[in-house]
Each structure stands twice: as structure tokens, then as C-alpha cells.
């Protein structure tokens, strides 16, 4: 009751008439007020609603395990994280792997490599594909998060999550993509199949990099909200929605290379709408996550 009294009594009607996100901030604040943060609730919330940008970093950090659920230990843990960051950075500097001139993204990569023990012998060694993925994600993240420590940590944990938690589900995504595309627009799929472009779609860009570098960050972070909160299926719907949105253009192209090329460089202007529609589509097909709060 206290929660309800704190919330706006109109909140019930906002959703009815289609306003979204009015009361979300408040409910999120209520969620964040708990001493021991309920991670599950946070997950559900972020799956269901777009996160307010001022709380995004915090929520992400909590969800990714960078910060513990206890508020008390946040400062201490953060101190540790900072220390670790500076230590690693220092070490890298000591071994002259990085310098002040090194781009921040590469610094993050080296740090990550160092921490994961995959630091190559020399910085001049060619980058592996996973490093490219990291770089892309880090680049996108750099735009989203201001603090470099946070950025590093979030990037690191995000990539870790991709590599650990989604290790099994990521390869399944292309199949799921085909399935949902068939449901939504079978003609488009048949066209793609006819062009034999299905297998050559930019799955790496979409699913491994999570659209980093494909969508502008402002819309990408909404996708990543979902990814961070534990659902990688949203990536499939974003991909489907991209195809649906650019259906006419895709239908006009009948060469798989051209299609791939086009899809790798889709116009940025409609990305917000794409993401919104994709989220709707996702909710439609996978159901709205139950908000226990």
C-alpha cells in the first residue's frame, strides 16, 4: 500500500491509454531503494520497460555482477574495481603495451586480454575475431557510459556474459530468426531463400556483436537492456524487424551479396522505430515478462 500511495494514482490509466514509461522511473527507483537489490525483479523490469538512462549504468552494473546487491558494499567494491582497473592499466603501461596515445577501446581490449590471460606477446600481433567483437562492443559502450572504469567493467562483463551465458543459445539464433521471419513475412523469407541469402546474412554483426556498430547507440542501448537482463532473443526480433522495415529494398535486391551489404549498412534514421517495433514483436511472440513487482 505504501508503494501504491507513493505512486501516482493515474499510473493505472497511463498504460491503458498507451503511455509508457511514465511510471517506470518511479517504480525503478522503488526497486533500487531495496537494500538488497532484487536482481530478478530488476531483470524483469528491464526486460519489460526501457531503462531510464540515468539508472541504466547502475542497473547494468548490478545485473552484470559488477556491483553486489548490497548498497553498503558498493563503494568498497567499486573501490576494488577501480583499483583493479588502475592496476591492470598500470601493468599494461609498465609493460608498455599501452601508452597514453593508445585509443581507449584498445586499452579496454588489452586490459580484458590481460585479465583473461590472453594477452598476446606483442601488441602488434593481429587481432582475433573475438577481439574485433570486443572492440565493437567496447566502442558502442564507450558512447553509452561515461566513466571509463564503468565502461571497461561493463564491457568486460557484457562480453563475458555473451561468452559464458549465451554460449549455447547464440548459435541457435539464426534458426530462430528464420522461423520468426517465416511467421511474420514468408514471402520475404522465400525471397531471401531464393537469393540464397539466408545463410549469408550478417549474423556475426547481429548476434555476436549484438548490433554494435549496426544501430546507433541511443537505440542500441534499449536492445542491450534486454540482452543484459538475460534475453538474447531480442536480437532475433531486431533482425526480423530490420528486414521487415527494409522489406521493399530487400525485395528489390536479388543478390545475396548486395543484401548483405545493404543490411550491414542500414540507414540509421529509422532505428528507433525498428527497435520499438522489435520489442513489440518480441513481446508478442515471447510474451511480456511477468513483472512481479
Amino acid at each position: 500500500m505504501t508503494e501504491d500511495s507513493q505512486r501516482n494514482f493515474r499510473s493505472v490509466y497511463y498504460e491503458k491509454v498507451g503511455f509508457r514509461g511514465v511510471e517506470e522511473k518511479k517504480s525503478l527507483e522503488i526497486l533500487l531503494k531495496d537494500d538488497r537489490l532484487d536482481i530478478e525483479k530488476l531483470c524483469t523490469f528491464s526486460q519489460r520497460f526501457p531503462l531510464p538512462s540515468m539508472y541504466r549504468a547502475l542497473v547494468w552494473k548490478v545485473l552484470l555482477g559488477i556491483l553486489p546487491p548490497h548498497h553498503e558494499s558498493h563503494t568498497q567494491v567499486m573501490m576494488y574495481r577501480k583499483g583493479q582497473y588502475s592496476d591492470v592499466l598500470h601493468a599494461l603501461k609498465v609493460i608498455r603495451f599501452v601508452s597514453d596515445a593508445t585509443p581507449q577501446v584498445e586499452v579496454y581490449l588489452r586490459m580484458y586480454q590481460l585479465e583473461s590471460g590472453k594477452l598476446p606477446r606483442s601488441p602488434s600481433f593481429p587481432l582475433k575475431p573475438e577481439d574485433e567483437v570486443f572492440l565493437a562492443i567496447a566502442k558502442a559502450m564507450e558512447e553509452m557510459v561515461e566513466d571509463s572504469v564503468d565502461c571497461y567493467w561493463i564491457t568486460r562483463c557484457f562480453v563475458n556474459q555473451l561468452n559464458n551465458k549465451y554460449r549455447d543459445s547464440l548459435p541457435q539464433l539464426p534458426k530462430a530468426f528464420e522461423q520468426y521471419l517465416n511467421l511474420e513475412d514468408s514471402r520475404l523469407l522465400s525471397h531471401l531463400k531464393m537469393c540464397s541469402a539466408v545463410s549469408r546474412l550478417p549474423y556475426d554483426l547481429w548476434f555476436k556483436r549484438c548490433f554494435a556498430g549496426c544501430l546507433p547507440e541511443s537505440s542500441l542501448q534499449r536492445v542491450w537492456d534486454k540482452v543484459v537482463s538475460g534475453s538474447c532473443k531480442i536480437l532475433v526480433f531486431v533482425a526480423v524487424e530490420i528486414l521487415l522495415t527494409f522489406k521493399l529494398k530487400v525485395m528489390a535486391l536479388n543478390n545475396s551479396e548486395k543484401i548483405t551489404k545493404f543490411l550491414e549498412n542500414i540507414p540509421q534514421d529509422s532505428s528507433d522505430a525498428i527497435v520499438s517495433k522489435a520489442i513489440d514483436l518480441w513481446h508478442k511472440h515471447c510474451g511480456t515478462p511477468v513483472h512481479s513487482a
Binding site: 558494499s73 574495481r81 583493479q84 606477446r121
Partner: protein, 1163 residues
């Protein structure tokens, strides 16, 4: 030729005085004509006639049959062209056409007509002209549609002759002009009557020319004044009046009558009763007619008239005595009513023409003019008809007379009012609703009209009305008036005997048919004696009023008769004149009276009156035209205005008078004197003039006779219609009789019906009474029945009661029986009980006895028992007390116990609560602990990750170090190391020596702790101290370092010499850093340190000590390496030769061996 001669003979025989011969010859001619179709015979006849003017030939010629007409016409055409025979030919033609031969329609096509017209146009002989014009006038109605082509010829002729009348070209005698004028006047009437539109337009065009203007003023205009406006002028058009369809319906006499209708001249028009008289009527009854015309009722009446007129008109002839009406009124009524149905029901010309048996006109007129005229005279004289007025036609005469007889008793002075009243009164019962309207209207307006128009005012009033009246309106008026009259008469005559009324006029008419015709035909002749009076009247008021004045005499007789009923003509006329004519005209009136008595006045008087100068004064006030004419020629001026016919009449009359006078005097000179008066012609010419005049008169007479014939034909038709109407009326009456009979039948039936009804009602009553009686009987019987029914019911109830009683009694019987049975049973029971009680008594006694015995035994036992009780009571009491105490004790104990239990229970509860609390607390604690644990784990994880990072860092560093190291080795540092190696070996030896004493214990002690772990490494060490210098050096270095750490000594510095100094200098700086780095080693005692050590151990699988040694040695070597790298040159200069050359090899070997050993150990 024989035939020719025969013809001549026959022709001469025609005029034989013997009648039989004449007839025979005529028959022969007719046979010849029938047999021969050639023109010869006709030609011969014509020639013969022109020579002799034989009456018999004329008769034959005029009755020529069809094929010969052409020859006749041709022949006549031939002779007309010749001036000498023209006159006789024309007269022959006149004779022929007057008889209306069957071929008359061919006249229009015949060449004779154009030649006749031509002759009329060019001829200058007045006699010929007059004859020709009369012939033409006679011919015109016969060929109405044919006149179309010659219309302009007719008009031209009219124009020529009318101008002739005025201009008098040359020597033409005045006498002739009078005749010519009369004929022109007749032509005018004919043309105007037949082709009004064309004629008027001709007049307009012809007389608009200046040269003709005078003619118009003098001649034509007065003629115009004698005609009314032709209806065709309003309704028709030029083309319409030439339309053959218009003429097809009309026969010759119809045309003639049509023309006569137009005329206002009494001499011309009065012959036609239907039109002009009706007009007089309407004019004479101004108030009523005006009302009727004014009211919209006229139309309805007209439209209705077509339906209703027949019965009225049929019934009307019955009204022989419409007594209230004055004769002049009633007289037109029959005729009008006869015409009314004619107009509406059947086409008059056809029906009448078919119906009337044509009385051979050829025979009658010539045969009996004289007796007829005589008869008329007798009639007129004897019956006192208004003979003085030619306007009133003879037919009304008998009617008037009969009317008069009826009318006598009526009050004379109020003739008009009663007429009005009686007109309205009988009108009311009329069946037609519309009649009320006109009647009421008549009632309202009649008095005013009557009051306003007195007899004296009448002429003026009439004049105003007449000028207003339109021809169409007149028609309407007439129709309305006829309607009214017929209604009035029928209404009046209804109660009267119809047959008599019907018969009398009918038979009178039929009887008078012949005489009546003759007077009308011979009016011209009679007119001479009859006319003076109206002439005077018309003379009195010249100008536009003339026609009305001409009519007024008709009214006057009515008025006069009112005052003097059944008065003779002699008495009438004076009265009229006295009333009507103003004072200056008394003389003519007296003369009229004189004439009426048969005494002709002196000639001078008459002449004076005929051309009165006084009249001019009177007239000049009214009409300027007449004033204009006056100075010209009084005679000429007066003549046209007084109607040419009248003038002619007068002329003849004068001639007759003069002739009579002269004859009486028998003096020729006076005669000659008189003749000079006529035109001043010399006596030698007089005979011729007189002959011509006679001829002209004859022509005129023939023309008038023709007209009379036409009228006769018409009259026959009308009569036929009357007969028809009468027949219908009769039929109607018969129907009415039948109706009455049927009504009577109905009455009888009704009476019988009533009787039957009465009988029926009687029977009904009888039946009712019988029914009532029966009903009462039934009621009585029913009552009886009810009574019986009640009785039986009572009896039944009684029976019921009895039955009930029987049943009750039976029940009682049963009860009694049962009671008896019961008592018997009881008795037996009682007896049984009695026996039982006896046995019980016996038992009781026995038992009592036993009881007594037992009581005794009991007493005995009681005694025994009392004896025993005295010992046990004490014990029992004591025991009781003990028990009681014990009980109490136990009770208190139990109480205590229970209290204790309570407290313990409470305590247990408390404890339990505490326990729960503690549990809760515990849980909380646990939770908290968990929380904390989690928190700690989070922190720990962070720390661990940090540590991990640190480890990675370290590894990286290590790698880097190794890398560097490897690079160092690669970079040819080996050479420098050779020098140093010897020194290092020496130093190591020294160090070993001095350190073995002092530092063995701590090293050993220290190594003991880890000996367990690295036990195997130890044995080789002593052996290798010597054997492997490099290694020993390494161990010494480590020991030294450790000793340095543990016990900071100076010996190395002291002993080192250059080396040590160098060492110190080399380590001077890092000495501060080394402790820190090594200083971290003590922290290895902490958790992290231990962990780290374990980690290291695990990784490198080397001893802890040795690790530390290796680390230190490593660092040392590193530093030394560095130092050596740094100071490779400085020591070389003084000490370069000192180190043994093999030493670097050994050192290198050592190192390699060391590695190898380590390798081996590891493997």
C-alpha cells in the same frame, strides 16, 4: 320543218281561249320536252315567249325539267347579251328562279350569271337594272356558296346602283329611282345578311374614297341604320362566311329569313317573327329582359333550356289561356317555344323540309290573292286585331282574341304588376330549382324597373336599351324569355284542361294557314292601306330611334287593350296615338283613324305629312345630318331615312289615291297636273312611264311574292314542328294519364296493403292473446307442479327421518346387546377374580405367618449383631481420622504440586517464547549472516578478481621479465658476464665462507620449516656447493641476501672491496626498493601471501625458500645484470685481467646446468 310548223301551230294554240285546248297543248309540249332532249324546242319556246310573253309558255318554261335547263339558260344568256330582249329575258329568268326549279344550283355555274352581272354593271336602263337586281336578290339565297366568286361583282353592282340613286344620271325619272332605291335597299339587306364581314369591309374600302363619301352619307348610311349588327361580324370572319359548310345547312328560305332577321325595318323584318319580334319583346319588356340578361342565371337557363325546354314547349301549347299575360306577350310565346326546341333538338331546315308537305307554291299564290286578302280583311276587321301594326304578324290574331276573352275580367289598370306577381307565383311551384333565382331577382328588380319606365318614357328607354344590346345578348335574352314564358304558361295551364287549349290553336292555325300566308305575302299590297300609321310614327321620330318607334305600336295595343278590352281597331288606334305621339302629330293620328275607318284623307294632307317640314324642325334638334340634308331635297332626304320600301309604298298609295280620284272625277287635265307633280315628264311619255312603272311594280310585287313564298315554306316547317310538338305533348299527356292510372293502381295496392296489414295486425293480436292465455296456463301448471314437488320433498324428508330413527334404534339395540355381553363377561371375570382373591387371601395368611416367623428370627439376629458391634467402632474411628489427615495432607500436597506445575508451565512458555525469539533471532542472524556473507562474497569476489588481476599482472610482469631476461641473454651480455663471473665466484666463495658460520643457522632454521616440502632439494645442495660454484654462488647469494634481510651486516660491504663497494653503490639505490619488494614477503604470512605462495609453488613447483632465494637471486642477478650492464666497462679496466677466463664458461654452464637440473628435477 313539219315539226317546226307543228310547233308554230301548237304555240299559237297555246294561247287559245279554250281551256281544254290549252291544257292539251301544254301536255303535248311537256311530253315533247320529256321525249326530246335537244335545245330546239326550248329555244323555240323562249323565242315565242319573248315575242308574246304568253303565260302558258311561261308556265311551260318555268317548269322545265332537268336536261333542258341548260338550253334554257344558254338561250337566256344569249338574249341577255342583246339590249332589246334584255328586259323580257330578265323577267323570264325571274319567273323561272322564283319557282325554285330543281336545277337552281346550276345557276352559279351557268354563263348566264356573269352575263347578268355584267349587264347590271354596264346597263343604264333603270327598269332593266331594277329587274336585274331583283332577280339577283332572288337568286342569291339559292346559290349562297357560289356567290363567292362573284362577291365583288355583287358589291360593285351595289356600289354602282347606290351611287345611281343619288346621282340620277341623265334623264332617269324620280319614280324609277324610288323603285331602284327600293331594290338597292333589298340588295343591301341581302348582301349584309349573307356576307356581313365581306360586305362591311367592302363598304369600308369603297366608301372611304372621297368621291363616294357623299353616296355613303346619303344612301348607304340610312340603310345601315335599318339593320342591326350582324352576329357574324362578331363571331365570324370573311373566310368563314364564305365557307360552303355554313351554307350547306341552310335552304333558300332560311337564308332569306336570316337576312330578314338582320333588318330593323318593320317592312322587311316584321315578317320574321322568330327574330325581330322576339327582339321587340325583349325591347318591350325592358325591366325583365334587362334583369335576365344581366343576371348570370341566363347562362344556366340557357344550358338548362336544352334539357327542359322540350316538355315545357310541348305543354305550352296547352296554355291557350295564359290569361294574365297581355296578348302581344303571349303571341310570340308559342312561336318562340316552337323554335326553342327546334334550335336545340333537331336541325330545323332538314326536319321541316322533310316533314312539311310542300303545297305547290306555283298554284296557290297566283290563284287566290284576292280572296285571301279579303279574308284577311274580314278577319282583321271582325276580330279587331291590331291590324294597324304591321309588326304584329297575323298568327297571334286568333290567339290574342282567345286571350282577350279570358283576359277581360282582369283589372285593367294594373296590368303590369299582376303580370309580374303571377309570373313569380306560379314559378315557385316549378320543379326547377333555378327558377327561384331569377324569380327572386325579378321580384327585387322588377318594381324598380316598372316604376322607372312608364309608358311615356318607354321609347327613350327602349332606345337606350336597344343601342346597348348586342346581338348575342339578345339571343340569350330571347332564350331566357322563352323559357320563362313557357314555364309560366305551363304552370298556369297545368290545372286547366289541356286538350282544349292544345286543340284550339292547332286547328285555328291549320285552318288559318292559308289566309295567314296570304296576308303576309300581300302585305305590300295591304301595306298601302295599313302602313300610314306606323309611317307616321316612324316619321315622327326619325334617326336612330326609328326602329323602336316602329315596334312601339306592338306594345301599345297591349296597353290600349288593357284599358279597352276587346276593343276594335277603330278604338285602339286613337288611344295609341294619344298616348304615344306628341301633339304635333295629331293630324296623322286622326288621319290614321280615318284610314282605319276606311276613309282616305285628302291628298294634300297626306303629302304634307309625307314630307313634313315641321318634322324637320323636330329632327334637326337631334340629328345634324338631317339638318344638312334638309336644304337639299326634302323628299330625297326623307325617303332613305324612312326606309325606301315605305317610300315606295307611299308612292304607290299616292298613285292609287290619285288614280281613284281621277277616276271619280274623270278629268284628264287634273290628272296631267298631278303627273307633273311626279317628275314633270310630258304626257306623251306618261304612258310609257306608267307602263314601266307598272312593270317595275310588277317586278317588285313578284319579288315580294317570292319572299312571301319563302315565308310560307318556313311557316309550313314551323307548323310541322308545332304539330310535332303537339304530338309529343299528346304523347306526354298520354304518358301522364298512364302515370296517373299507375298511380291509381298504386293507391289501390296501397289501400289493399293497408288492409292486409290491418288484418295481419288483427291476427297478430289474436295470436298474442292466445299465446298469453297459454302462457298463464303454463304458469299455473308450473306452480302446481312446484307445489307437488314441495310436498313430495317434505314427504321424502319425513321418510328420511324415519329411516334415521330406525337406524338409531338399531344402533341402540346393538349397544344394549353389547352391554349385556360385556356385563356377562365382567361377571365371569369377577367370579374368576373372586376365586383368585380367595386364593390370595389364603396365601396372605400363609405369608403373614411366615412374616411373623421371620420377624422373630430377625429380632434374634439383631440381638446377636448388637452384641458384636461394640469392639470395632474405635478402630474404625481412629482409622478414619488417620485417613482424613492423610487426605488433607495429600490435598495440600496436590495443591502445591499444581501450583508448581503452573509455574513450571509458565516458565516453559516463557522459555519457549524465548526459544522462538532466539530461533527467530537466529534466523535473522543467519539471514544477516548470509547477507553479510553475500556481501562479503561480493567484496571478496571483487577482491578476488582484483587479486586475479594482480596475478595476471604479475604473470605478465613475469613474462615480461622473462622476456627481458631472454632478450638480455640473447644480446651478447655473455661476454661481459665472463669477467664478472670470476668475481662473482670469488665473492660467492667469500660469502659462503663467512656466511656459513653466521648465517647457517637462520638459513637452516628457515629452511627447516620448508624442508618438508623441499626435502629432495637439500641433499644436492651440500654436494653442489663445491661442485657447482654457480649454484653455490647462487645459494650464497641467496643466503647472503637472506642474511642481509634478517641481520643486516657490514661484512659484505667490508669484504666486498671494490666489488662490495660497487655492490653497495649498485644497491644503494635499490636497497630502499628491495626491502619493499622483499618486504612484501613477510606479508606472505597473511592469507594472501600464503595463497600467493601456494600459487607460486604450484606453478613453479619450487621450494618456498628457494623461491624466495630464486626471487632474490633473480632480483640480484637482475640487478647485477643491470649493474653489470651498466658498469661493464669500469671494472674491466682495473680488474679486467683478473677474473679467470674459464669462469664465464663455468658460470654459463652452471646456469645451464642449473636449468637443466631444475628441468631434470622437474621431470
Amino acid at each position: 320543218m313539219a315539226q317546226q310548223a307543228n310547233l308554230g301551230e301548237l304555240l299559237s294554240m297555246l294561247d287559245s281561249p279554250v281551256l281544254s285546248v290549252r291544257d292539251d297543248v301544254t301536255a303535248i309540249f311537256k311530253e315533247n320536252l320529256n321525249a326530246d332532249r335537244g335545245p330546239m324546242l326550248v329555244n323555240t319556246l323562249v323565242d315565242y315567249y319573248l315575242e308574246t310573253s304568253s303565260q302558258q309558255v311561261l308556265h311551260i318554261l318555268t317548269t322545265l325539267q332537268e336536261p333542258h335547263d341548260k338550253h334554257l339558260l344558254d338561250k337566256m344568256n344569249e338574249y341577255v347579251g342583246k339590249a332589246t330582249s334584255r328586259l323580257s329575258t330578265l323577267s323570264l329568268l325571274g319567273h323561272a328562279i322564283r319557282l325554285q326549279p330543281p336545277w337552281k344550283h346550276k345557276l352559279s355555274q351557268a354563263p348566264l350569271l356573269p352575263s347578268l352581272l355584267k349587264c347590271l354593271k354596264v346597263d343604264t336602263d333603270v327598269i332593266v337594272l331594277t329587274t336585274g337586281v331583283l332577280v339577283l336578290i332572288t337568286m342569291l339565297p339559292m346559290i349562297p356558296q357560289a356567290g363567292k366568286q362573284h362577291l365583288h361583282d355583287f358589291f360593285d353592282i351595289f356600289g354602282r346602283l347606290s351611287s345611281w340613286c343619288l346621282k340620277k344620271p341623265g334623264h332617269v325619272a324620280e319614280i324609277y329611282l324610288v323603285h331602284l332605291h327600293a331594290s338597292v335597299y333589298a340588295l343591301f339587306h341581302r348582301l349584309y345578311g349573307m356576307y356581313p364581314c365581306n360586305f362591311v369591309s367592302f363598304l369600308r374600302s369603297h366608301y372611304s374614297m372621297k368621291e363616294n363619301l357623299e353616296t355613303f352619307e346619303e344612301v348607304v348610311k340610312p340603310m345601315m341604320e335599318h339593320v342591326r349588327i350582324h352576329p357574324e361580324l362578331v363571331t365570324g370572319s370573311k373566310d368563314h362566311e364564305l365557307d360552303p359548310r355554313r351554307w350547306k345547312k341552310l335552304e333558300t328560305h332560311d337564308v332569306v329569313i336570316e337576312c330578314a332577321k338582320i333588318s330593323l325595318d318593320p317592312t322587311e323584318a316584321s315578317y320574321e317573327d322568330g327574330y325581330s319580334v322576339s327582339h321587340q319583346n325583349s325591347a318591350r319588356l325592358p325591366p325583365r329582359s334587362a334583369d335576365v340578361t344581366a343576371s348570370p342565371y341566363v347562362d344556366t337557363q340557357n344550358s338548362f333550356g336544352s334539357v327542359t325546354s322540350t316538355p315545357h314547349s310541348v305543354s305550352r301549347p296547352m296554355s291557350s289561356t295564359p290569361g294574365q299575360l297581355p296578348p302581344p306577350l303571349s303571341s310570340p310565346a308559342p312561336r318562340l317555344s316552337a323554335e326553342a326546341p327546334q334550335a336545340t333538338l333537331w336541325s330545323p331546315s332538314l326536319m321541316c323540309g322533310m316533314a312539311t308537305p310542300p303545297t305547290s307554291p306555283g298554284n296557290v299564290p297566283p290563284d287566290c290573292p284576292q280572296p285571301c286578302s279579303k279574308a284577311f280583311g274580314a278577319l282583321a276587321g271582325g276580330k279587331g286585331t291590331p291590324s294597324g301594326t304591321p309588326a304584329t304578324s297575323p298568327p297571334p290574331a286568333p290567339l290574342c282574341h282567345s286571350d282577350d276573352c279570358v283576359h277581360v275580367p282582369l283589372p285593367p289598370p294594373t296590368a303590369a304588376p299582376p303580370r309580374k306577381e303571377e309570373r313569380t307565383d306560379p314559378a315557385r311551384p316549378c320543379l326547377h330549382r333555378q327558377h327561384h333565382l331569377p324569380n327572386d331577382r325579378g321580384l327585387e328588380e322588377l318594381p324598380g324597373g316598372k316604376g322607372a319606365v312608364t309608358l311615356s318614357d318607354l321609347p327613350g328607354f327602349l332606345g337606350g336599351l336597344a343601342s346597348e344590346e348586342d346581338s348575342i345578348e339578345k339571343d340569350n335574352e330571347e332564350a331566357a324569355i322563352y323559357k320563362e314564358l313557357s314555364e309560366i304558361t305551363t304552370a298556369d295551364t297545368e290545372p286547366l284542361v289541356p286538350r282544349g287549349g292544345f286543340d284550339s290553336p292547332f286547328y285555328q292555325d291549320s285552318l288559318l294557314g292559308c289566309p295567314r300566308k296570304t296576308p303576309s305575302a300581300t302585305t305590300s299590297a295591304q301595306g298601302a292601306s295599313v302602313h300610314p300609321e306606323p309611317l307616321n310614327a316612324s316619321l315622327d321620330k326619325l334617326g336612330p330611334d326609328t326602329p323602336k318607334q316602329a315596334f312601339t305600336p306592338i306594345e301599345l295595343p297591349g296597353g290600349g287593350r288593357d284599358q279597352s278590352p276587346a276593343g276594335s281597331g277603330e278604338h285602339q288606334t286613337p288611344l295609341e296615338t294619344r298616348i304615344l305621339t306628341p301633339s304635333p302629330f295629331r293630324v296623322p293620328s286622326q288621319r290614321g283613324a280615318g284610314f282605319g275607318s276606311g276613309q282616305p284623307p285628302p291628298y294634300d294632307h297626306l303629302f304634307e305629312v309625307a314630307l313634313p317640314k315641321t318634322a324637320h324642325h323636330f329632327i334637326s334638334k337631334k340629328t345634324k345630318e338631317l339638318v344638312k340634308k334638309m336644304p337639299g331635297n326634302a323628299e330625297e332626304a326623307c325617303a332613305p331615312s324612312a326606309s325606301p320600301l315605305e317610300v315606295l309604298d307611299r308612292l304607290i298609295q299616292q298613285g292609287a289615291d290619285a288614280h281613284g280620284k281621277e277616276l271619280s272625277r274623270l278629268s284628264l287635265p287634273s290628272k296631267s297636273v298631278d303627273w307633273t307633280h311626279f317628275g314633270g315628264s310630258p304626257p306623251s311619255d306618261e304612258i310609257r312611264t306608267l307602263r314601266n312603272q307598272l312593270l317595275l311594280l310588277h317586278n317588285q310585287l313578284l319579288y315580294e311574292r317570292f319572299k312571301r313564298q319563302q315565308h310560307a315554306v318556313r311557316n309550313r316547317r314551323l307548323l310541322r314542328r308545332v304539330i310535332r310538338a303537339a304530338a309529343l305533348e299528346e304523347h306526354n299527356a298520354a304518358m301522364k294519364d298512364q302515370l296517373k292510372l299507375q298511380e291509381k293502381d298504386i293507391q289501390i295496392w296501397k289501400v289493399s296493403l293497408q288492409k292486409e296489414q290491418a288484418r295481419y295486425s288483427q291476427l297478430q293480436e289474436q295470436r298474442d292473446t292466445v299465446v298469453a292465455q297459454l302462457h298463464s296456463q303454463i304458469r299455473q301448471l308450473q306452480h302446481d307442479r312446484e307445489e307437488f314437488y314441495n310436498q313430495s320433498q317434505e314427504l321424502q324428508t319425513k321418510l328420511e327421518d324415519c329411516r334415521n330413527m330406525v337406524a338409531e334404534l338399531r344402533l341402540e339395540l346393538k349397544k344394549a346387546n353389547s352391554k349385556v355381553c360385556h356385563t356377562e363377561l365382567l361377571l365371569s371375570q369377577v367370579s374368576q377374580k373372586l376365586s383368585n382373591s380367595e386364593s390370595v387371601q389364603q396365601q396372605m395368611e400363609f405369608l403373614n405367618r411366615q412374616l411373623l416367623v421371620l420377624g422373630e428370627v430377625n429380632e434374634l439376629y439383631l440381638e446377636q449383631l448388637q452384641n458384636k458391634h461394640s469392639d470395632t467402632t474405635k478402630e474404625v474411628e481412629v482409622m478414619k481420622a488417620a485417613y482424613r489427615k492423610e487426605l488433607e495432607k495429600h490435598r495440600s500436597h496436590a495443591l502445591q504440586q499444581s501450583q508448581r506445575l503452573d509455574t513450571s508451565q509458565r516458565r516453559v512458555l516463557e522459555l519457549e517464547a524465548q526459544l522462538a525469539k532466539k530461533d527467530h533471532l537466529l534466523v535473522e542472524q543467519k539471514k544477516y549472516l548470509e547477507d553479510v556473507k553475500l556481501q562479503a562474497r561480493g567484496q571478496l569476489q571483487a577482491a578476488e578478481s582484483r587479486y586475479e588481476a594482480q596475478k595476471r599482472i604479475t604473470q605478465v610482469f613475469e613474462l615480461e621479465v622473462l622476456d627481458l631476461y631472454g632478450r638480455l641473454g640473447k644480446d651478447g651480455l655473455l661476454k661481459k658476464l665472463e669477467v664478472e663471473k670470476t668475481e662473482a665466484a670469488e665473492a660467492a666463495e667469500e660469502r659462503l665462507d663467512c656466511c656459513n658460520d653466521s648465517c647457517s643457522d637462520p638459513v637452516r632454521g628457515h629452511s627447516d620449516t620448508v624442508s618438508g616440502h623441499n626435502g629432495e632439494t637439500r641433499p644436492p645442495r651440500p654436494g653442489s656447493t663445491r661442485g657447482s660454484g654457480g649454484r653455490g654462488g647462487g645459494g650464497s647469494s641467496s643466503s647472503s641476501s637472506s642474511s642481509q634481510l634478517s641481520t643486516p651486516e657490514k661484512p659484505p660491504t667490508q669484504r666486498a672491496g671494490p666489488f662490495s663497494s660497487r655492490w653497495e653503490t649498485a644497491t644503494g639505490e635499490p636497497s630502499t626498493s628491495i626491502p619493499t619488494t622483499v618486504g612484501s614477503l613477510p606479508s606472505s604470512k597473511s592469507f594472501l601471501g600464503m595463497k600467493a605462495r601456494e600459487l607460486f609453488r604450484n606453478k613453479s613447483e619450487s621450494q618456498c625458500d628457494e623461491d624466495g632465494v630464486t626471487i632474490s637471486s633473480l632480483s640480484e642477478t637482475l640487478k647485477t645484470g643491470v649493474d653489470m650492464g651498466m658498469e661493464a666497462k669500469t671494472p674491466l679496466s682495473p680488474d679486467g685481467p683478473r677474473p679467470a677466463p674459464p669462469s664465464p664458461d663455468s658460470v654459463g654452464q652452471l646456469r645451464i646446468m642449473d636449468y637443466n637440473e631444475a628441468h631434470q628435477e622437474h621431470s
